[in-house]
């Protein structure tokens, strides 16, 4: 897809916020795609993990805003331990999720979980899921 790059975007508020929230240097990534290649959730994603990094550092937040990818990432850290540049993608995914959750845009609300599942799910699933998907 065509991408318009501008310094106003790459130095803009979105990039600043995700750098601050993730604590990561987005320029470490050289787009080798090891993260996408090893991601067990990649087939459930619309944007690949590699694309998320690229779009995020270009400040193209509207291209990421409605993507499924950041919500499909389960922070399994397969990418983190495999990255040849030492970039922790799980922290970038978290930063993007947090930007949305902090706008009170919950991805999952407790009341959305069917009653039967609430009784069956182990506590660690409920606690971790609601911590990752609600603000």
């Amino acid at each position: 897809m065509p991408v318009t790059i501008s310094s106003a975007r790459t130095a803009g508020g979105f990039v600043k916020k995700i750098k601050e929230l993730s604590g990561e240097n987005l320029h470490l990534c050289y787009q080798c795609g090891t993260c996408s290649g090893g991601c067990p959730a990649a087939s459930h994603m619309d944007l690949s993990p590699r694309q998320i990094i690229h779009l995020a550092r270009l400040g193209l937040d509207e291209d990421i805003a409605d993507c499924r990818t950041v919500w499909v990432c389960a922070s399994c850290l397969a990418c983190t331990v495999a990255c040849p540049r030492g970039f922790d993608l799980s922290r970038l995914m978290e930063a993007i999720r947090q930007l949305s959750l902090r706008q009170r845009a919950d991805h999952v609300r407790p009341e959305d979980i069917p009653m039967k599942e609430r009784g069956e799910l182990p506590q660690i699933a409920m606690v971790s899921g609601l911590r990752k998907f609600s603000g």
Binding site: S22, A74, L77, D88, L121, P122, Q123, V127, K132
Partner: protein, 303 residues
């Protein structure tokens, strides 16, 4: 030797079949676990956002409780709790600025700077007892049991909390070999089961389970050996769907602690096999490792 023990919420309810055989086995091995008299939720997941310190308070409080009791090691059984507690501990020992903020915020607590070592039970078995010594304690060698060790994510990632080699772990294989079982190596043993995606997208879970279970079965495994209650749930529930859709035959899922208790000759009732997915008792009877009078299998998996 007395060790502080942190159980966590899930082990007291859904995963009693992980906890109870562990506690009984350690007693049989002469290691006494002292469950902390006060503990709270560990938070289940480690906070990844750099400014989110409030979610570190819960795990750090547990570490302070262990230190207060004069314990220098905290043993954890649940993989999720292990990961959350160990990462919080590393934050407190390695990040002076955040440590100070947290210690100041928790002004009712004594200061903490990561003095307690967080250990997983498998590390304790490997490093305190040793595989050779464990082998000598085995009363019922698990002969003929071909099982695939499944590590999941949280015992191995990130690198700084890993209990073994991140890419090529062998701790579960070594454990199984010590018990007399035959470990089946398979390439998906550290692949994510889908984790808490079961909360948001339960429909995706059978696909994750298929990508783990089928390669293990193709390599000749008669069952999987797990450490984590969420892996157990995702693989167990996922497998039920796969069996329904004839995408998989279905194999028993064991917790490693159940196999330990069985091999040490403890009463199988302590294993709570009735809480397992995939009918492990049928396989154990077939291999002559459980008498026909063993605890009866209830159908339908967990309550």
């Amino acid at each position: 030797m007395q060790l502080a023990y942190y159980p966590g919420c899930t082990l007291k309810t859904k995963a009693r079949n992980l906890e109870e055989p562990a506690v009984a086995s350690l007693e049989a091995l002469g290691l006494e676990l002292e469950e902390m008299d006060r503990w709270n939720c560990c938070g289940a997941v480690y906070s990844l956002a750099d400014d989110d310190l409030i979610h570190q308070v819960a795990p750090v409080r547990n570490l302070i409780r262990a230190k207060e009791r004069g314990k220098d090691r905290l043993v954890v059984l649940c993989s999720f709790c292990f990961n959350a507690l160990k990462r919080a501990n590393l934050l407190m020992s390695g990040d002076a600025a955040k440590r100070d903020t947290l210690n100041t915020f928790m002004d009712e607590e004594p200061d903490y700077s990561g003095e307690v070592r967080v250990l997983h039970l498998l590390e304790l078995l490997r490093d305190e007892i040793g595989w050779e010594a464990l082998k000598k304690k085995v009363k019922l060698p698990l002969r003929g049991l071909k099982l695939a060790p499944y590590y999941g994510c949280t015992l191995l990632r990130p690198r700084e909390v890993a209990i073994d080699d991140v890419e090529n772990p062998t701790i579960l294989q070594d454990f199984l070999a010590a018990l007399g079982a035959i470990p089946v190596d398979f390439p998906e043993s550290t692949r994510c089961c889908g984790s808490y995606q079961v909360v948001s997208d339960p429909g995706d879970i059978p696909g994750y389970a298929r990508d783990i279970l089928n390669p293990a079965v193709r390599r000749g495994a008669g069952g999987l050996v797990l450490t984590c209650p969420l892996c157990d749930y995702d693989l167990g529930k996922g497998q039920e769907e796969l069996v329904k859709n004839e995408e998989s035959g279905g194999v028993p899922l064991f917790y490693f602690t159940q196999l330990l208790a069985l091999a040490l000759g403890l009463d199988p009732a302590v294993c709570h096999f009735e809480l397992n997915y995939g009918d492990p008792e049928a396989l154990l009877r077939e291999k002559g490792l459980l008498s026909p009078e063993g605890t009866p299998q209830k159908t339908g998996g967990k309550a």
